[in-house]
Amino acid sequence: MRALTLTNRRTELTRLRREVDDFVSGGGLPAEIAFDVNVALEEVVTNVISYAFQDGGEHAIEVTLEIDGAELRAVVTDEGIPFDPREAAPPDLGLPVAERPLGGLGIFLARRLMDGLDYRREGTRNVVRLRKDVGP
């Protein structure tokens, strides 16, 4: 298991990605898994950075990574305002790109790249749990 504490700044995303790459390759899993987990985690963490804190101050975002048998699990925890990413409206992918409204792709991508995305408000914390099947 690996745990890291980020602050609510976009510059932290580089460090997050480095940690995920290191964790996934250390677990003997291929780079494709790291790519998917990286995109999903960036989307979830970016959402937290953008919406969870409205006082302009510095806040912690906890990320844990764990491989348990054939499953990789990531948990993102923050103490921001309640925000359930599952409620994000899905993008309309039926239109040609040039006619689509921009935005709304992040959580959609995260859900498609992972095999599970759950949310719970636990006391004063938002807890987003992601899981991905990594079995043979």
Partner: protein, 126 residues
Amino acid sequence: MRVEIDSQRAAEGYRKVTPHGSIDAQTAPEFEAAVAPLMIPSTRIVLLDLGAVDYISSAGLQVLFAMKKQLVANGGDLLFCHLKPQITKLFQIVNALPKESVFATFEEADKYFYSIMNQEIRRQKG
């Protein structure tokens, strides 16, 4: 982030753009700023060489989609070449990879550009 912009065919409204590294929530604004000078009405086609891009997230996709919107409004398009498999997968998930805009090589993309330019010249000549 480093972004190479080829001006060789600028007069014809055709630009080649080669970003390097990641286009993520942190770097997408830098990439957007680098290509902003190209996003003018006289630019019809941008060929985006993604061969040196190993990571992209929704923030990067949004910048590319905004470019595409602008270029289609200019009567042109955004073309892609040298896409890596994981990047191709992201485009497919968001249903944003029309076959006619993806090329394996520069030469194929160039050929496509000149074929649509010729079509247009013929149309203008009526």
